[in-house]
């Protein structure tokens, strides 16, 4: 699974249903689903949530995992991504979960190894399992009755829902995966941020995507607000006036109470308290931030199961 665009609505629906089934299943039975199968986690970037979540999800299905990280492997000696992938395949890996700072790296690894590759974040490009777990979080709160968690989703499941994604859109793979996935289920996505972090062309990425530069106007229209951190490591010389940025885009308790008192507050993490979001909001009653992390576990079980059992081997 390289991009959310590789997933049809039917497949998304299947993954959501399986996530719920797997979550509910007796751990001792679940443990046998992929017993002794082998998945390699190949991480070229630091990660807390995604890595641990994939690892625990794999173990919950009985998978043997191995972690290769760029700082303690031959990658440091200059081994290419292709050769690293071929080595993991030779060692018996049946799928690879890749986190990498270069956009498109997951595609390259799949081409090189012909193994199912699960993209756990490639540069500024995509983070598809994050979008799926965000979708699961949205459904739980916004569609509690005919819940997509058990019944699956269709092209209109999120009709009438507006989701604001605010902050550093330009450098965010989470934003790209979400803006491409949510409109396919009927949601309207409002992108919000300053020009430097949100170029006009972002609206051309697909249908159902609009730009609303005024954060407060966006909040007023939204049932869910996803906040993003400024990716200092990817700014590449871009100068951002943080005082100005916070004044315009920080999600504060005051703004939330006045403009979106019932909206769901989301954040893919890591959060920078006091920057894009205040501590009070992050920990407040509207926040689903930690719940998102929990949904990640269920989603990743379903994604790995599909990677190792799907016809044709493609994740």
């Amino acid at each position: 699974m390289l991009s959310v665009m590789d997933l049809s609505v039917e497949v998304v629906s299947h993954l959501l249903k399986r996530a719920t089934e797997l979550e509910k299943q007796n751990p001792l039975e679940r443990d046998r689903i992929l017993s002794k199968r082998r998945i390699a986690l190949l991480f070229y970037e630091s990660s807390t949530r995604t890595r641990t979540s994939f690892e625990l999800a794999a173990k919950a299905l009985g998978v043997d995992t191995t972690l290769v990280s760029s700082l303690s492997s031959s990658i440091e000696k200059g081994e290419s991504l292709k050769d690293t992938g071929l080595t993991l395949r030779a060692l018996g890996a049946e799928a690879i979960i890749l986190r990498h700072p270069s956009s498109g790296s997951a595609w390259l690894l799949e081409e090189s190894t012909r193994l199912p590759v699960i993209n756990a974040g490639d540069g500024m490009h995509e983070h598809p399992t994050q979008a799926l777990l965000d979708l699961r979080t949205l459904l739980k709160h916004l569609r509690p009755q005919k819940s997509g968690l058990t019944a699956g989703v269709k092209a209109d499941t999120l009709a009438g829902v507006t989701v604001t994604i605010a902050g550093d859109i330009l450098h965010s793979r989470v934003a790209r995966s979400n803006m491409l996935l949510l409109p396919r289920l009927g949601a309207r996505v409002l992108l919000c941020g300053p020009k430097q972090l949100l170029p006009e062309m972002a609206a051309q990425s697909g249908p159902g995507i609009e730009i609303e530069r005024d954060f407060e106007a966006a909040m007023q229209q939204s049932q869910a607000i996803m906040m993003l951190r400024i990716q200092a490591e990817r700014l590449a010389g871009l100068q951002i006036d943080l005082e100005e940025y916070m004044a315009a885009y920080q999600l504060t308790g005051q703004r939330l109470a006045a403009l979106a008192p019932t909206a769901l507050v989301m954040h893919p993490g890591p959060i920078i308290r006091g920057m894009e979001i205040t501590a009070g909001v992050a920990d407040g009653p509207q926040s689903a931030i930690l719940e998102q992390v929990t949904h990640g576990l269920a989603i990743r079980m379903a994604v790995m199961e599909r990677a190792l059992t799907a016809k044709g081997g493609r994740a």
Binding site: S80, L108, M201, A236
Partner: protein, 439 residues
């Protein structure tokens, strides 16, 4: 493919001679002798053809050998990518009889010694190699090279190609010093201060792919700067040539400069008049080059510029790389694609067949005009006494390009599997058959 001795006479009979520079388009027989054109006559009327090897050109077009003024032959220094022998073998297969080789070799070609070495018979070239010297020492943009020495060794122009000269003062000096030697200054126009970390064109595609994009201004602003410097040096007859023009704004600047009477010329590469940044597709490193594939509007501006004549030459920017070098993360992949074997087939298929450009004008952009641009005397035309540089091709043959069959050491092309029009049957370089293919 078999090279024959240069002093053997060759009679090309029954073909349609198309020499745009000489204003000829009719059935003619041609006799080549001692590396030169010896005689041109009506069909069957050659006087001195006894004993000559005869090439039957019936149904074929006979034209001045093609000339590519922008290639990277990678020798010395990177022979795992290409050598002068393999690069010029690809040139000959594509109908080219002369190429101008960029100086970004290892070491950089900034001396008379390297310039001469590249032209030595030991290199085994199948086409004439005209070295382009580095404008500054090591192409570092600081110290100007000895242009008189480079020129006497055979250099035909100067450039720092992939390392554009950003400092105004240095570029002014380069233009003035080159003008004193009658040398052209070729600029790869890219303000590299604006393109840090970029690996494709800035646009919806780069946003979608999460890749940093180069703006059009990074090209056009440097072209505009260079034109300003040329206009300040107008009395010196400085000649600026803009390499691989890719944006509408840069082309507009060249057009304006020409109207002002400045010696400013430009070339366009086939990939820039055929492809757009959408061809990057899913991180296809064979669609990564610099300047990058641009928007559809820019691509259309290149076609328009070719059709209306502001573009002086088609040049391929043939840039071979080894397969493993391209099989990496998109942002780490080296820039460039091969181009020598596909330029004619693509130009005929698209400029001639699709856009109805007269055949003679297409061929002129690939021979007479680039020859004139860099002052290659006796090339780009086929009159008595000119070099026996000839391409003979079947203008009706449609065929499919297969990168695996390339004569180049490299296979990095986005045109693998593309339909071509016009198949080269013979390429003759200074009287030697450098390439031949049976129908």
């Amino acid at each position: 493919m078999m090279a024959i001795a240069g002093n053997t006479a060759i009679a090309i009979k029954g073909g349609r001679l198309m020499d745009h520079a000489a204003g000829i388009d009719e059935l003619k027989d041609i006799l080549l002798k001692d590396g030169r054109v010896a005689e041109i006559a009506a069909p069957g009327k050659l006087k001195d053809a006894a004993g000559a090897e005869t090439l039957n050109a019936k149904g074929l077009i006979v034209a001045p050998g093609l000339i590519d003024i922008h290639v990277h032959l990678r020798e010395p220094g990177q022979t795992h990518k290409e050598t002068i022998a393999t690069g010029t073998a690809a040139a000959a297969a594509g109908g080219f009889t002369a190429v101008a080789a960029m100086p970004n070799t290892i070491p950089v070609n900034d001396t008379a010694e390297i310039t001469r070495w590249m032209q030595a018979p030991e290199r085994g070239a199948s086409a004439r190699v005209f070295p382009i010297g580095a404008a500054t020492r090591g192409s570092k943009g600081e110290t100007i090279n000895d242009y008189a020495a480079l020129k006497s060794a055979g250099a035909v122009a100067v450039t720092d190609d992939g390392h554009p000269i950003l400092k105004d003062g240095i570029m002014r000096e380069v233009l003035a010093a080159a003008a004193r030697q009658g040398l052209t200054v070729i600029q790869h126009a890219e303000d590299t201060r604006m393109t840090q970390g970029c690996s494709m064109n800035l646009g919806p595609a780069s946003f979608r792919l999460g890749l940093r994009g180069m703006s059009n201004e990074s090209e056009s602003s440097l072209v505009e700067r260079d034109i300003r410097l040329v206009s300040e040096l107008k009395d010196t007859h400085a000649h600026l040539h803009v390499a691989h023009t890719s944006t509408a704004a840069a082309l507009a600047a060249v057009r304006q400069a020409r109207r002002s009477g400045l010696r400013v010329t430009c070339e366009v590469a086939p990939h820039h008049f055929l492809l757009t940044d959408e061809h990057v597709g899913v991180y296809n490193t064979h669609a990564k080059m610099n300047p990058p594939l641009r928007s559809a509007a820019d691509r259309d501006a290149m076609i328009q510029g070719i059709l209306d004549g502001v573009v002086d030459a088609i040049a391929t920017d043939h840039a071979p790389h080894a397969q493993h070098e391209k099989e990496v993360e998109f942002e780490f992949a080296p820039n460039g694609i091969t181009g020598l074997e596909t330029a004619l087939g693509l130009s005929l298929r698209w400029l001639h067949k699709q856009w109805k450009m007269p055949l003679g004008r297409v061929l002129s952009l690939l021979s007479a005009q680039p020859a004139a641009l860099l002052g290659f005397k006796g090339r780009g035309t086929l009159t008595a006494g000119s070099f026996a540089d000839v391409v003979i091709f079947d203008p009706k043959a449609e065929w499919t390009y297969r990168a695996t069959e390339s004569k180049s050491r490299a296979k990095n092309t986005p045109f693998d599997g593309w339909e071509m029009l016009g198949k080269v049957r013979w390429t003759i370089s200074e009287g030697r058959i450098a390439y031949s293919s049976l129908p």
